[in-house]
Symmetry: D2
């Protein structure tokens, strides 16, 4: 079995990124299982039909239930808005389909847990779309940590800053509405940071956070497309009920200290997904706006030439880069999805869960939830509280 | 007519980049003419068959003459080694095919001129692969110059530095052999700088250069693949007869001063294709290793906040970026080819010559030739010398 | 009166920096009151005598009481270890001397408050050594904020990272002992960040922090000089009772969110005193390791050239730079002290309190204290708690 | 003899920088010979008197002949305009004074040679003010080259870019007049690059250049102070007879290729004195606007973490830095002069010629002259031509 037949729900920003990944994978990673772009699903028949043609899907559906019911589909890719993830995922799992779901896994922790349980019960493969892991420079950071080249980890500081809503007239798109998006910068941007923290440093033990909505009312959008939308000065306004910014401190199980910040109100930052790790033997720094680079400092360099090195992670020594272009020829955002899909295909072939999977999605959702609770209750929240509650809930049932 | 059927000669580094461009174009620029990947051609039947399958070509050929003779092909894409460009291009033009040829146009100036003449005579469209023009940050530089926002241009300095042959044991691959490649860093890297100079500043009036081969013997390669190759310490050695580095000074017709440097012996530079322009009102700086960025300085900024701005050319205000991802989500090397192919498709639809075309290739070749002559004769060479010679040659015939 | 006669306590790192400031001031700011380097004081007669000669002091003392008692001294400069600040400052104030005290004002909040009260009661001028305010690039940040060019402030994030104790064999110098230094990175580095926050953003309303000592035992030092010291592997060890790192979140009175981090365990960071401010109209970024630069982003730049500008704050338009060298000729760490002393001299002439003064020192100490309390009690601490307690204490007396 | 009594001619930009160096040396390098600031000389009695007081000179003179005649002076420091260097230096040498002369040594090569001969004949110490050698980061570059850590040198590229005359209304100050300054950017900025090339790479064998004056007329200045001046739109204009920009290519005796560019018409560059060296084993990059940093790349770094390191040259392992502040606390432009004066004092004590000395000044002048000749005659000029001419001239006499 060297083909996997994909059915995808959603066709906008993430739908485009995923579609492209399926298209490009066989060309650059010809030895991987080939994803077959079987069907794409969306509610607007014209729009989804147009997307199918443009992106290269064989067919389209307007009801995700119909998609899930199809016998010629092996894997359901879910990149619809977050509030419908769970229902689709559960149905697909029950139909025996493998799952690839965009982050955050769901808008609430219980739903996320349910998704994991259902996927496990169904015995299918399940992946979650924390694509930033798959930048080669991030892979290099992981390698340096794993090989002990940074020593004992002391600090993880991370910030994901954007500025696309800095204009108070930017409209109230779905990403700014709690019922659909779950949260604002916290779940959208902070979720990525939390996953990177888990990936690079390990378990978080406790957190305390703070958040704010600086612009509390925005024009209602006339139409919504991807991240953007159009509003007018005179348009009626609606209340923004998600956070513009959320910060939190964390203590990791291994003793490291963490600092996290997610904001959509940081002018000049289009997509600054950035982290730094300091360990007893060295440090690394990453900024997604220069995603091909990792800054690396090692304490054992000769004493007269110590300094952060700008490593351009495009050499054959770097993950995935053999498949692309010669050294120095950089790759872009969309490549993270291709590498992610490669991992998904490899995991299916090797009959193991892909990394990251729904368990990682739940772990991330737990931290998101703990931070929100810490904000609401103005106190440190231990991650163990949430798992104990889960246990109790389980017992109660 | 909304389809163009492509036949491509060559299937290695550039062949892969071009193939990918044809694949991706319809997805991201759905309103463009669609290139149909009809046939790919190479001498090694197995290898080209494998490439056809991997890259997505409908069929393959092992003789470029057969390819050119096919009736179901509208355009011939030539990315075979430089020394065979001319023969293929001339035959294709005579067969009425549009042409897309990698740079340099040919290994000698007379051949390049012949290619242009034949293409013009045939009335076909002809494009040359100076892909770096098509980085959005370079497009922004062009826009700033064209709109006069940098004022009168004083300086153009450019350097294309690489380090892939820094190891003296790196083998004598075809790019280091004059009979196949024409020249070394000069024609490979310097050609790109010259084209950017033409594009951004204008005509060059006179030049004087200097070149060097630092490592004069290298192991003969056992096999050659793309840029790399494998040699051993004990392998027999061959003479390197191309330049490792070529530098030259230039005076532009508009009075600007130019400085050019191409080298493959600059450790730490994987692909530093970099230029800076200084004008009476401002400056711009570009480095391909950070290809999404343009540094911009304007003299009329407020006096307390003057400084180079790092513009991340990923906003909707930047060329092509509407077709890709939200601001801050960068693109990579391969995108320059997609934009280039878009220009090719648009030019065909609009019945005009694409930019850059064979005339630009000839202009570039003239400068390459003038620099070589200036090196051989140790004197300034005016570009007018070459055009006068051409005129005379024409008369003589 | 155009002379101020200085008596200084302390002659090591800060003593050297202050001495140099007094020496250089008249040359570069000839219109300022001239500080006369009257006497320097330290316990070790030979060492202080040597320092007097080297730094250019007219005389020396070995007992600070004798210094304070001298009639030919107008101002006492205190840069001895933090635990003796209070006693000296109080005595000097009572003797009618102006005060210039290094930060932190003292090791406890009550002592700091007492110092302020005594200085106010005595009617003398009092300054505290938050020298980083006086980097021209920081002055530019202040100007941009004050003039409203960044709009409403949303975010202040700051980190002061060093790595001088990253080696576990680095000895237990006085800066690592609570009884002398009061705290570790918190009071040493964090204090600077807090002062910058007060200066650039305004009052802090509440805080919550976290701290850690990663290396809990270190060799006892054989000798101590400035920041360094010598230890051996076999040396007896002592307990480190100050923090290696302290982080905290803050909410400002104006609604901005703050994130602070101080660490001495961040490899590759020699002296990264860095902050970023995001406002509704723009952002600025500063890093002391590139102290002549401020990164500035403005949302109203033309849409195709938006980006952080690297402003080299060495133009005549920048604070103090007229006194130094032509644009582009940078200054260094020690210049912050010269500018600071200029402010001190100007304040004395103009009969006003210098900026920052002991009131700023107390404000900073309050935040340091609030953070420590928040760590001990694992809860948010409002700054108003501390002022209410002060009020009550006052009533109790 | 542990004192050297200085007499200085000139009191503006360089006069200030030198004065400060003499003032600061004993404080930071207490073991060096102490320079005694005996007398300063300038034609304007009031102005020089004011400078003497401000800078800390014991006395002043208005006639350099009187200064040279004084018995209480050991060393003459010459930083008057370039066209008077020779006369003063020769007289001072004949009077047995040591010499410290700003660059360029003189405005013509014969004069420069005469200065060297006279200094040698008199047996005095002679230094020339190529201060950029004395940035610790440049010293580090020198160390890496000298120790062979960069291997065989292939490339030296250097550019010294400024923008202080970019405004066409900037007046015709003395630095823009050939009779006083000798040349424009070439002798002012290019001279520094040539000295760095000599210092870091070695002898230059041949050169070819190009230069331009972009703004050929400028308002006559009402007054001139340091680099600046004031002009008005309606002011009468004078002809600019020096170069705004000069570029040249060079071949070094050791086979390295050189590229040099000096311009005062490069917007955004306040003082970009920058060079890069590529060798067979590594590269270094320097930019004076970030003078505390050296970028270092080594080919033998581990293959997954190769990259340019930003070395902040403020560690004890770096030249001079032990005398200053802890690591990470940067120094500025003026420090290069302090280190330069330290070398001067050390050379006097050790009875050797300081580095760089008048011989280096002549070498530099020879290259300046060769470049000018290459421009005038539009041909490569070998450095040996100039030395042969010198020989002939010597024979003719």
């Amino acid at each position: 079995m060297e083909l996997i037949r994909i059915g995808m729900v959603g066709y906008k920003f993430m739908g485009k990124a995923h579609s492209h990944a399926y298209r490009d994978l066989p060309m650059f990673f010809p030895h991987a299982i080939k994803p077959v772009m079987k069907a794409i699903c969306g509610r607007d028949r014209d729009a989804v039909g147009q997307a199918a043609q443009q992106f290269g899907w064989e067919s389209c559906e307007t009801d995700w239930r119909a998609l899930v019911a199809r016998g010629d589909i092996d894997l359901i890719d879910i990149n619809a808005p977050s509030n419908v993830h769970k229902e689709i995922a559960v149905a697909a799992a029950r139909a025996g389909k493998h799952l690839f779901c965009e982050k955050p896994l769901s808008v609430t922790l219980p739903e996320a847990r349910e998704m994991l349980k259902e996927a496990e019960r169904a015995g299918v493969k399940h992946m979650i779309g924390f694509n930033y892991r798959y930048a080669p420079a991030v892979q290099l950071a992981k390698k340096l940590v794993s090989e002990g080249r940074l020593g004992r980890i002391y600090h993880f500081r991370a910030w994901f800053l954007q500025d696309w809503i800095i204009d108070p007239q930017f409209p109230l798109v779905w990403r700014l509405r709690k019922e659909i998006a779950g949260s604002g910068s916290h779940g959208d941007l902070g979720a990525h940071l939390i996953d990177l923290a888990h990936y690079l440093v390990g378990e978080i033990q406790e957190v305390i956070g703070m958040s704010e909505t600086f612009v509390t009312e925005r024009p209602l959008p006339d139409s919504m497309t991807g991240l953007s939308g159009k509003g007018s000065q005179d348009a009626p306004k609606g209340k923004v009920d998600v956070d513009d910014a959320t910060l939190f401190l964390a203590r990791f199980a291994n003793g490291a200290l963490g600092s996290f910040e997610a904001s959509r109100m940081a002018p000049g930052h289009r997509c600054t997904n950035s982290f730094e790790i300091n360990g007893s033997l060295g440090s690394v720094k990453f900024d997604f706006e220069r995603m091909n680079e990792l800054q690396v400092y090692l304490t054992d360099d000769d004493e007269d030439i110590q300094g952060f090195r700008r490593v351009l992670a495009t050499d054959p020594a770097h993950a995935y880069m053999d498949a692309w272009w010669p050294p120095g020829h950089t790759i872009g955002y969309e490549h993270t999805f291709i590498h992610e899909v490669l991992e998904l295909m490899n995991a299916i072939r090797e009959d193991r869960q892909p990394q990251p999977n729904f368990a990682d999605g739940v772990r991330c959702q737990e931290v998101l939830e703990a931070v929100e609770r810490s904000i609401a209750e103005r106190r440190w929240v231990r991650m163990s509280e949430l798992s104990e509650e889960e246990l109790e809930e389980g017992i109660d049932r």
